[in-house]
């Protein structure tokens, strides 16, 4: 299992199998429809939702515009509060820093708060390679880890699993990771939760090192914030002696007051709750309370390059609520694994090709993993125009153009494998700027209509495999208009 998912097939191939997996389809459909309906109700309760959404967008845009300033302020505040700040340009550097910090404690295991950033960099695997075992403590992450699986959703990583599958995973795998599942474990939610609680408790009480991400970092005070539903995060943040937090640089907000917006929009958008059950904040270290040592690893990993792109930078507003996944008709059918990234769904389709570049097959296919229906933009609590960025990235794939890589402007060549499509688009553009040629083509199609095949070869086969083609009419509208003078002449 690799955090970077190298060698993933392109999205259409990955989705091909998912669409045919009826259990997966049913699990995804049930879960996404339940949560999307709940979200709509939770959002409808607030009469100022539109203003909260705009405020969230404005705060994020302002912070991104002055990111350097706020990051320096954050570093000063964290240091003043007794923490240590580390800067990581990419995944490798972040992994090296965390591994070194863990090894320096003399410990060989860590407990983890659910964190997208550490998944993005493949931290668990990097620690494993140095002989350190990382235990996921979020229930869904635990299911994924025990099942040697990949997360399928940002908020609900095990969304693709049903209760029966989870019981089987617990029964078979818990023993090799720690306390085994109780005898005769059934698939009732209460029993599954209790099994996880017992299994995890032993780890919380033993662990000397905790690793977390953060939902927000407050520049003015150097405070980090994690919002969660289960309370296991708070265990990891308070019980260990050493706490290491790995956080993307875009997670910063200037002031405590800014949190008032996001602590309303995030829970309602993600879990459809008015407020999340646990909000933990930590500021450096404190005498006789919580971890004695605190390290903050600030992760770039493609973020400043993304910030340099004036259309694509809005993806950095994302607060990882996953509302866009839950309304996405493509995600609902293809599932999270098809996106080949820890960030699936519509946000993953614009974030991954920006953070990783569009060179790989999977990253070049992600901007096309959307019908551009716009449901994602409609629900996004920070108003990321995901369709706009998707089209922008499609352009990057087929036309190439300027991008920033490691702080340097480079010009990308068009991706290979689009030559036929490009030729067809050029030909269509030519015909559409020469109306007489278009009319001639329409007449030819009309004359030969009786010979048109019901199934067509090449890319068109993808259409006729599942859908019938419309029949070409005997006369185009323009010819009818000309022949009848817009219906005024006889013979209409």
């Amino acid at each position: 299992m690799s955090g970077t998912y190298l060698g993933m097939p392109a999205f259409p191939e990955a989705a091909h199998d998912a669409v045919r997996n009826t259990t997966l389809r049913a699990n995804l459909r049930h879960a996404t429809h339940t949560i999307r309906d709940k979200r709509a109700r939770a959002v409808a309760e607030l009469d100022d939702w539109a203003r909260l959404r705009e405020a969230g967008k404005q705060i994020k845009d302002h912070t991104l515009r002055h990111l350097e300033h706020y990051l320096v302020q954050l570093e000063e505040s964290v240091t003043a509060a007794g923490g240590t700040v580390h800067w990581a340009a990419d995944a490798d550097e972040a992994n090296r820093i965390v591994t070194r910090l863990v090894l320096a404690t003399g410990e060989r295991e860590v407990v983890k708060v659910k964190s997208m950033a550490t998944q993005e960099i493949g931290l668990n695997e990097a620690l494993e390679a140095e002989g350190v075992r990382a235990y996921e403590t979020d229930l869904a992450e635990l299911i994924v880890q025990l099942g040697d699986d990949r997360p399928s959703h940002i908020l609900v990583p095990a969304i693709h699993r049903n209760r029966g599958e989870i019981r089987d995973i617990f029964r078979e795998e818990m023993g090799s990771w720690g306390r085994p599942a109780p005898e005769g474990l059934t698939d009732t939610p209460a029993e599954l939760a209790e099994a996880a609680r017992l299994h995890l408790r032993e780890k919380f009480l033993r662990a000397k090192v905790g690793v977390s991400g953060a939902n927000f970092m407050v520049a003015e005070t150097g405070t980090l914030v994690v919002v969660e539903s289960e309370g296991n995060g708070r265990m990891c943040l308070t019980l260990p002696e050493t706490l290491i937090s790995v956080v993307g640089i875009e997670k910063i907000v200037p002031t405590w007051q800014d949190l008032e917006v996001f602590l309303q929009t995030l829970p309602r958008s993600s879990t459809a709750e008015r407020m999340n059950p646990y909000t933990s904040t930590w500021t450096g270290t404190t005498e006789s309370d919580g971890p004695r040592t605190f390290h903050l690893v600030l992760l770039d990993n493609g973020r400043t390059d993304t910030l340099a792109d004036e259309v694509g930078r809005q993806a950095l507003r994302c607060i990882r609520c996953s509302a866009c996944l839950n309304v996405c008709p493509v995600y609902e059918r293809a599932g999270g694994h098809a996106y080949g990234s820890v960030y699936p769904g519509p946000i993953g389709a614009i974030l991954s090709p920006q953070l990783r570049g569009t060179q790989s097959e999977i990253d070049a296919s992600l901007p096309y993993a959307s019908s551009l229906c716009g449901a994602c933009y409609e629900v996004c609590p920070v108003a990321i125009d995901i369709p706009e960025v998707l089209v922008h990235l499609r352009e990057r794939v087929v036309e190439g153009g300027p991008v920033t890589r490691r702080g340097t402007k480079v010009t990308l060549k068009p991706a290979r494998g689009h030559a036929a499509e490009r030729a067809a688009m050029r030909a269509a553009r030519w015909a559409f700027t020469h109306p007489a040629a278009l009319a001639a083509g329409q007449r030819l199609a009309a004359r030969t209509r009786r010979f048109h095949p019901r199934t067509v070869p090449g890319p068109g086969r993808a259409w006729t495999d599942t859908r019938d083609l419309p029949q070409v009419p005997a006369e185009s509208f323009r010819d009818w208009w000309q022949r009848t003078d817009g219906g005024k002449e006889a013979g209409k």
Binding site: S371, A428, D468, G486
Partner: protein, 257 residues
């Protein structure tokens, strides 16, 4: 009132009946309709597939065809029976102008497109907002379910305009479509590039439509209807797709068959 009909390349080539219906409907409502013969395609297939620079000449062509008539006052509006093509002009043409400016190519594209953008209307919004009618005097004695296509729904914000028009049609029984706001899975080149997912979305849409028991699935965009209709035909659900213009054009004297 005199308007220019922007029929769109798909309708012109594959669905001329929709075009004739628009002409018949608008003429009945006292609107004079012209069809500038040099019109072709708004450029949406190019733009949405990532070929923005190929789409630009088509946007210019659109402004060349319709711009002079708008500027001279010859056309009060440009009407199109396609939510997604109207959204292309109104939402994405301004963006194309901005991008050209950002690429250091000046204001020429933005200036050329500016006059046609606010004058372009999707058919149902023109009827309700500009002409101020919801009862267009139509007669269509069938059960109908309405699918609000994504660009009409979310880009243009058509809201309940189409269903208000349909509800006022004599003889028509409107049935609510479960999951109406979900995409049918067409999405232009998406239907071919991600055909498995597209087909799965289309099949779900058709099953939801069939569950209403209606005879007809109606929408304001023939591209979506081509995908839905093609799926209906393959799944043999015994429903037919009909463009809203054809229903609104149907009368007791000249019923749509």
């Amino acid at each position: 009132m005199r308007v220019a009909l922007f029929l769109t390349c798909v309708n012109d080539t594959l669905y001329p009946d929709t075009g004739r219906a628009v002409v018949k409907l608008l003429t009945r409502l006292g609107v004079e309709v012209d069809f500038p013969a040099a019109q072709t395609c708004c450029g949406q297939p190019h733009y949405n597939t990532g070929y923005r620079h190929e789409a630009e000449p088509l946007a210019r062509h659109y402004s060349d065809v319709f711009g002079p008539g708008v500027a001279s006052g010859d056309y009060d509006a440009i009407i199109t029976p396609s939510g997604s093509c109207a959204a292309m002009v109104r939402e994405l043409y301004p963006r194309m102008g901005e991008r050209a400016r950002a690429e250091g190519r000046g204001d020429r594209l933005a200036t050329a497109l500016a006059p046609v953008i606010p004058k372009t209307y999707e058919l149902t919004e023109f009827l309700v907002d500009v002409l101020g009618v919801t009862d267009v005097g139509a007669f269509y004695p069938h059960t109908v379910t309405y699918h609000p296509t994504c660009h009409g729904l979310r880009s243009l914000g058509l809201g309940d305009r189409p269903t208000r028009l349909l509800a006022a049609v004599k003889g028509l029984e409107l049935r609510e479509l479960p999951g109406a706001q979900e995409c049918c899975g067409f999405g232009g080149t998406f239907a071919v590039k991600n055909s498995d997912v597209s087909a799965a979305m289309g099949a779900d849409k058709v099953r939801n439509a069939a569950a209403t028991g209606a005879e007809v699935l109606c929408a304001a965009d023939n591209s979506c209807l081509m995908h839905i209709g093609g799926t209906m035909s393959r799944l043999q659900v015994g429903m037919r797709p009909v463009h809203i213009a054809e229903i609104l054009a149907s009368t007791e004297e000249e019923p749509l068959v």
